[in-house]
Symmetry: C3
Subunit: 154 residues, 3 copies
Amino acid sequence: MTDTPAARLAALGITVPVAAAPAANYVPFVLENGLLHISGQIPFDEAGGLIRGRLGDTMDAAGGAAAARRCAIGLIAQMQAALGDLGRVRRIVKLGVFVASAPDFTDQPEVGNGASDLMVAVFGDAGRHARSAVGVAVLPRGVAVEIDAIIAVS
Amino acid sequence: MTDTPAARLAALGITVPVAAAPAANYVPFVLENGLLHISGQIPFDEAGGLIRGRLGDTMDAAGGAAAARRCAIGLIAQMQAALGDLGRVRRIVKLGVFVASAPDFTDQPEVGNGASDLMVAVFGDAGRHARSAVGVAVLPRGVAVEIDAIIAVS
Amino acid sequence: MTDTPAARLAALGITVPVAAAPAANYVPFVLENGLLHISGQIPFDEAGGLIRGRLGDTMDAAGGAAAARRCAIGLIAQMQAALGDLGRVRRIVKLGVFVASAPDFTDQPEVGNGASDLMVAVFGDAGRHARSAVGVAVLPRGVAVEIDAIIAVS
């Protein structure tokens, strides 16, 4: 039983927070045709504060990767809320990674790895996903990273 | 019969325009596996002119929300063209909201609400969707907002 | 037999390269529920070098379209790796086009056409896709264009 996403989260010392409410008039996830679409998650630290910053300006790649990891924890919280049991995650299909970036910051892949590495650590082969990562001008509330996801569900 | 998307559009005083032709060599929508993918829609005003601007610079959040609402009307026009009957919309699954933003403008959620609120007003619970909203450097033709969508179809 | 994607690629004089390995801890594609999600592809020239630049600054629209065409060739290489036979491509459903853009560059559609035109040239009607195209601040490694894709598979 150590080979479940819940067990791996516990082994990593990660407490999945209560799923964040959306910041506006939409819902955090929609499940249709076996695919769970999860709204873009912004990063909250363990105390519940927003992680703000701009890569290549007020934050470096390591800080960005840590923020991306927190976005991934937010995505997992939404999977938990949507599915009840993380064992119903058949495959992390796609992550869309948006990184608030100064015009000369080009290490978006290293930032995105903060989320990608966690998905593989928690879900194993089922966590291996397609991904896009781009550098955007600015994100809601001034956060450093936003990540949305598509999940295939059993 | 007042409980249909078409009736709600009429009650809102919204005339769905003829679906916009794509600006290039692609198509406005593709329906595969029960999911309708709609190309990014840019905002046209009621006279057919483009709504240009940059949030936090030449346009405020209220103006951006109005532009996002016009993008949503463009999405509904494409649904009408694709499906014939808006009653075939089973669920608005996902909106991808791109907001042309000055680097210090962080109210992309308020802009996106212009589209999200209209989807719920027209489609009811079926209009409640997942969403991402990000601030980009610039959009085609200098428009203020671009929104693409995934729709589950009956 | 001249009416296959492979034959059309040959007629266009395009050699499909070996599919690029992802730049980080993710995979180049995931096939679930009949939909192939392909990771964002960045442009490599025929010698294998990255095509860097920023539209409206160090690159013009024609250069951007050529870079987008190379991204499309990268997407086709991933389809080949995923499916073995390009004849299994039932439909190019959606391209997501991200263009590194100076704030006053608004011809993202013309850039995206470099990819869209090739898809139609190679796959015929099955290559006609939905699309979004946006101008972003900066892309990984400083490349000019990044494109991801959703493909319906037979």
